[in-house]
């Protein structure tokens, strides 16, 4: 009984240590590729356990419990992210192409005609790719 209690306390301590870091409220984009045994904390603070091969991408955006006003921003975000992986068995690389605008920069950028056209074009491409895949 004593051994089970000490083992359980150890596991709780490790899980608590996992939850302590990384609690800042910022946008975070993360990827993970694992072969083997993996116990990890994702950017959204959840714990993930994997055995074997696993691959994940996650984007987290902090949310506040208040509405935005003309003079106050509640963490606006504009983001475009492209993640491409190659064949994992040949260890082909990870490629990232990303664009982020946060806070007032996002609200200002949203009014830019060039960004609006770019977003519209990208959204159309993604939608078309989705339809082609069906």
């Amino acid at each position: 009984m004593k051994n089970h209690c000490s083992y359980g306390s150890f596991v709780i301590l490790i899980l608590t240590l996992f939850l302590l870091p990384g609690c800042a409220k910022t946008v975070a984009f993360g990827t993970a590729t694992v072969f083997g045994l993996d116990i990890s904390q994702k950017p959204d603070q959840t714990i993930d356990v994997a055995l074997g091969y696993d691959r994940a991408e996650i984007a987290t955006i902090p949310a506040t419990e208040q509405d935005a006003k003309e003079s106050e921003d509640t963490y606006s975000v504009i983001g475009i992210f492209s993640v491409s992986y190659g064949n994992p068995w040949t260890l082909e690389p990870l490629r990232l192409n990303q664009f982020f605008a946060t806070g007032w920069a996002a609200r200002t950028a949203a009014r830019d005609k060039r960004l609006q056209e770019f977003f519209g074009k990208k959204a159309a491409e993604i939608s078309k790719r989705g339809d082609d895949g069906k």
Binding site: G30, A32, I39, L94, Q98, F99, T102, D112
Partner: protein
């Protein structure tokens, strides 16, 4: 009455007997540790924008004009302990790539500096792999916005970059765009020194075309 022997003493005798029967193998363990594991062991201390590497480490970094991004890449073989901003212990091959923007709009940030204070050779050169045996110091202009960590072996890590226990092979990346800014980023793990990271303050609409070009894959 016969003498009662303490069970621990009896077990110790048995353990010692077994120990001497396997003498050559267990006797070699200290030599294995001293001559193979310790020489490949290292320690990394990250405090603020400074990095201190103790022990053998392979490293390279981007040099001026680093108009695309400030990039550093380090590799450890063997046992490495991490402390400071990020805590961890890794056995095997571990690699970390850190990238921060080279400037913010018109303002150019100070380039990171690397030095080997205890080395008799010339200072580190940017762009190529170099080796540090005893002590390497790096001072970055700012905290990295992007970090990629790769491990082949076993590792335990706790911190803002990653929190994970891994046995096998694993790669993790984390990108934290600065609040209230525009950021475009391009990364290829095969050529990390050719990564690009451009950061603009709000209202830099005149740079929007350039930023959108960066995003096109």
């Amino acid at each position: 009455m016969g003498e009662r022997r303490h069970p621990v003493a009896s077990m110790s005798r048995g353990a010692l007997a077994r120990h001497f029967a396997l003498g050559p193998l267990t006797g070699a363990l200290p030599f294995f540790f001293v001559f193979l594991v310790l020489p490949l062991s290292g320690c990394v201390i990250r405090a603020g924008s400074q990095e201190h590497f103790l022990g053998p480490v392979w490293y390279r970094f981007s040099g001026p004009p680093a108009t695309e991004a400030n990039i550093s890449q380090v590799k450890h073989f063997g046992l490495v302990l991490e402390a400071g901003n990020q805590w961890g212990l890794a056995v095997g091959v571990s690699e970390r790539t850190a990238i921060s923007p080279a400037g913010s709009g018109e303002k150019e940030m100070r380039h990171p500096t690397w030095s080997k204070p205890l080395s008799l050779t010339s200072g580190p050169e940017p762009g190529r792999w170099e080796f540090s045996l005893i002590y390497l110091r790096g001072e970055a202009a700012a905290q990295p916005v992007f970090v990629s960590r790769t491990t082949y072996g076993a590792s335990v890590a706790l911190g803002s970059e990653t929190s994970a226990v891994t046995v096998g092979a694993g790669n993790r990346t984390i990108l934290r765009p600065p609040a209230g800014h525009l950021l475009s980023f391009r990364f290829d793990r095969r050529q990390p020194l050719k990564s690009r990271m451009v950061q603009m303050p709000p209202g830099a609409g005149w740079m929007m075309s350039r930023m959108l070009e960066e995003v096109e894959p």
